[in-house]
Amino acid sequence: MNTHMKSWFDVGSISDIPRRGARCVKTGTMTVAVFRTADDKVFALEDKCPHRNGPLSQGIVHDGCVTCPLHNWVISLETGRAQGADEGATLSFPVRLEGDRILLSLMPQTAEAVIAAE
């Protein structure tokens, strides 16, 4: 049962994603957006804005956030939380780099866990 939840998947190379951009990973049940920031950090969020399910992978990436293309909500890449006055969060997934390979886990992490781990 659910063993895939715990493992890391090689989903591609960091060079597959443009800087300040994103690519999608389809899992069959959902789409995960994998982001690459200007300083080559990678983050993974479910490709769904907490506001109206806009595809975050299509947004503009700036600093540690992405602006949703539908209504300009700004979502933290690290925690998945809406910034500013907006409230809500999308699922965030652990992702790490091994060399230039991007490894993604599909065990979603809560924003609380992300902050506590810092």
């Binding site: 591609g12 389809k26 539908l70 700004v74 500013g84 902050i115």
Partner: protein, 815 residues
């Protein structure tokens, strides 16, 4: 002769102000070294509350940036806490081992928050509220929302509570005394304030004595002495401060509560001074900025040989909680020798109380309406007898001797010596004189030259009124709106500087114009990208990651994440083969919706992103190019059938529309650009509500512009009449280029025209041949790069990554 060495311990607002005064009075007199325990420059601590509430950022509250230290030759040791003073050797030593000798030493170590030593007070999550580190820790915990407990309902505690509430936390304030802010407010005003804060969702518990802070590895809550237990993820202690005088005490300098100073701010050691919250003057330790700035001025004077004396200060208080107006000053306790005047207006939530003694104001508490605070404070400080105006005193200054409805009248009536800015001790006369003498026109200038409203900002309104009185109509309080939170510059300034400094990349703009964020935001990046595309057409490499998704994938994103595709139909004309190709594409890709647009095009809606390149490939085979229906650029040229078919047509409007569209397609503009060409004044192409329109008449072509038919509805303005089709094209192209070069990003042409002035635009396009030709030629040059069909590029493989998922996981195989 080498300069005297001045060492300053502490880099807060008081020593910062002292150095400013010193550099102004005697530049170069001292060789200055500052030790700062915090790893930063001097920032405005009064504004920490707006940073906590998210209304300002750290960058907004910096007083002295790096260049200030550099320009004045100050050596700043950041993150260097001083551990000892050797008064015999005249040296100070920092924890990092650095030892520096001094001729004169200023101790400005500020204050320490008082932490109640109840069990659990050392748990992680117990915070003070003194500096930016505290704010950052609070913001970090506040990210999780959760619950916060603030101990102490004084000025700082309430501001912290408000800020944390704004950050989405569930906030409870516990306070030992029966009423909140009891040092500044009488019970009636405290009641109103408590009610207002409760309405903002902050729980307040008074008469609550903290017994213990609960938790094992970090804070989990607070236990009160009456047995109540409150849950909390954070405890902020805001119960008071004590002067940080330990360093001085260890060095054998006389210390009482604070470091004892005389009226010249000198300690018991004649080479050592103390300034700010760590100092004790005539038995008083001050914690507000106004008296500290006054004493800073005295110390600067003394350091350059003056003999100024500090005589102590009367202080006033304002609470920085948005939407709550509160002012308190002086002494407002009741007493036999005192009288009071009270005004209450329950519905308006106004409470005013003045305390008089010997016919003079000695205390004032204002809630709800504080505009007269500075007037009362002025009367109080100058000890003015109020006998004659006693009956109407409480109604405020504008009520005295006259009735006028001009809100500026009260400010206009203030005497020149009335204090406007309490923090910086700036009076009306100084502000008015400086505005006139230096020709200041913006609030920022006035702040820079006089310091008025440059600290807590609560007197900004008064300063603006003074500017308005002094400058008349020349003062525009909303002169420059910054592009976004990443910069203070407005769009016009940025455009001007891009040209003036020859900036040709987004990183260059951000570096040279001192952007406050590392890579901009979704507001400024697309704007900068457009400005660079427009200004350097043959040199700038378009940054697709700074474009909105529609312009990146050349289709329009829909609410469900699918896209719509609109091929160009020149002038709205189409044919059976084009329609057949569209029908085939719709069938092949099972496109769920087809719609005719208002711009005489056909829109196919609901296309999956992955299918876009294949859809374009099929449309391309039929001769279609992108309609740029997504672009901040030329969209459509709507036409009527003109002389080809219409019995009223005066010119070939369809032909002109197609010609304009074929000439101008692909060009980027500040906002979308829609055009129309009507063959006669019956105007079937609705050209008179377009961005640019043409009405054909017998004698030629009437060119219109600056219409709107969206959020705003507005008929066009006439640019002028030209005789030939060639001229019509040239003038329209020149007008478009002028707008391209001057418009602000997302500013439609009618807004630009309003800002620029219709006559100026007519002059440049219709009468200034040289200008018109210049615009025309620059447009033609830019089109050489711009006129590439984005669809065919992508069919050939450009930006492949945009349209395919990076990976598709087969999860069942992972079992």
């Amino acid at each position: 002769m080498s300069r005297e060495k001045l060492v300053v311990i502490g880099n807060g607002m008081a020593p910062g102000r002292m150095l400013e005064e010193l550099f102004e009075k005697a530049p170069g007199l001292f060789d200055v070294t500052i030790f700062n325990a915090e790893p930063r420059v001097n920032y405005d601590r009064i504004m920490l509350s707006p940073v906590l509430s998210g209304e300002k950022a750290y960058e907004d509250i910096i007083i002295h940036g790096d260049d200030w230290y550099r320009d004045h030759g100050v050596t700043l040791h950041r993150g260097a806490k001083v551990s000892g003073i050797d008064r015999v050797a005249k040296t100070v030593t920092a924890e990092n081992g650095l030892t520096v000798s001094y001729d004169r030493l200023v101790i400005a170590t500020g204050s320490l928050p008082f932490i109640i030593p109840v069990p659990g007070h050392q748990l992680p999550g117990v915070l003070a509220y003194r500096d930016l580190d505290d704010v950052e820790k609070m913001l970090d915990i506040a990210k999780n929302k959760g619950k916060a407990i603030v101990i102490g309902a004084g000025l700082l505690g309430l501001e912290a509570a408000y800020g944390l509430k704004r950050q989405g936390m569930d906030v409870t304030v516990v306070h030992l005394m029966p009423t909140i802010m009891e040092r500044q407010l009488d019970p009636a005003a405290a009641y109103l304030l408590e009610k207002a804060l409760t309405e903002r969702g902050i729980n307040i518990i008074t008469k609550a004595d903290t017994k213990a802070i609960l938790g094992t590895t970090r804070v989990e809550g607070v236990e009160l002495k009456d047995g109540r237990i409150l849950d909390g993820d954070m405890v902020v202690m805001a119960v008071g401060i004590r002067p940080a005088s330990m360093l001085a005490k260890e060095a054998g300098i006389a210390v009482n509560r604070g470091i004892v100073v005389d009226d010249g701010m000198m300690t018991s050691d004649p080479n050592v001074y103390a300034l700010g919250e760590c100092a004790e003057h005539r038995g008083t330790c001050y914690g507000l900025v106004a008296p500290l700035y006054e004493s800073a001025r005295i110390l600067a004077d003394r350091l350059c040989g003056g003999s100024g004396e500090y005589g102590g200060s009367v202080v006033n208080t304002k609470l920085k909680v948005t939407g709550i107006n509160l002012f308190s000053a002086g002494d407002f306790a009741e007493g036999d020798d005192r009288e009071e005047i009270v005004l209450r207006d329950a519905t308006a939530g106004v409470y005013k109380r003045l305390v008089l003694k010997n016919d003079r104001i000695i205390g004032a508490v204002l809630y709800g309406e504080t505009a007269d605070g500075s007037w009362y404070f002025d009367l109080m400080k100058r000890s003015v007898p109020v006998t004659e105006m006693r009956d109407t005193l409480i109604f405020g200054q504008s009520y005295q001797g006259g009735t006028t409805l001009d809100p500026r009248a009260a400010v206009a009536a203030l005497p020149a010596e009335a204090e406007i800015c309490g923090c910086n001790g700036v009076c009306k006369g100084k502000i008015v004189d400086t505005i006139s003498a230096k020709g200041l026109t913006t609030l920022d200038d006035v702040r820079a030259h006089t310091k008025a409203s440059a600290s807590c900002g609560s007197c900004t309104g008064l300063v603006e009124q003074l500017m308005s009185i002094t400058l008349g109509d020349a003062f525009n309080p909303h002169a420059v709106k910054p592009m976004c939170g990443c910069t203070d510059l407005g769009h016009s300034d940025v455009r001007r500087l891009i040209m003036a400094k020859q900036l040709k990349t987004i990183p260059a703009v951000m570096q040279e114009l001192e952007w406050k964020t590392s890579c901009g935001c979704a507001k400024c990046r697309p704007a900068l990208n457009y400005y660079l595309v427009c200004d350097w057409p043959d040199e700038y490499a378009d940054d697709y990651q700074s474009r909105f998704i529609n312009e990146r994938v050349h289709a329009n994103i829909q609410k469900d994440g699918t896209y719509s595709v609109v091929p160009r139909m020149w002038g709205g004309m189409t044919s059976s083969s084009e329609l057949r190709a569209i029908a085939d594409v719709v069938d092949k890709f099972e496109i769920p919706a087809v719609k005719v647009t208002g711009g005489q095009r056909i829109d196919m809606l609901g296309i999956k992103k992955e299918d876009l390149p294949a859809v374009w490939a099929d449309l391309g085979k039929a001769g279609f190019v992108s309609g740029q229906a997504y672009a901040k650029g030329l969209r459509t040229v709507k036409t009527c059938v003109g002389t080809d078919w219409c019995r009223f047509g005066t010119q070939d409007s369809t032909g002109l529309g197609i010609r304009i569209e074929k000439f101008m397609w692909g060009s980027w503009t500040p906002a979308k650009l829609k055009m129309g060409v009507s063959g006669c004044p019956r105007n079937c192409a609705e050209a008179t509500c377009k961005d640019i329109g043409v009405i054909c008449v017998d004698s030629g072509f009437e060119i219109h512009f600056a219409g709107a038919a969206g959020l705003d509805i507005k008929g066009t303005e006439v640019l002028g009449l030209v005789k030939t089709e060639d001229e019509a094209l040239e003038y329209i192209v020149a007008l478009t280029q002028m707008y391209r070069e001057q418009g602000h990003y997302l500013e439609r042409i009618y807004k630009w025209a309003k800002r620029t002035g219709l006559d100026e635009i007519r002059r440049q396009i219709m009468t200034d041949t040289e200008k018109r030709q210049g615009y025309y030629e620059r447009f033609v040059l830019s089109q050489k790069v711009a006129q590439v069909d984005p669809w065919s590029e992508r069919v050939s493989g450009k930006d492949k990554h945009e349209f395919k998922p990076m990976s598709e996981l087969k999860l069942e195989a992972a079992e």
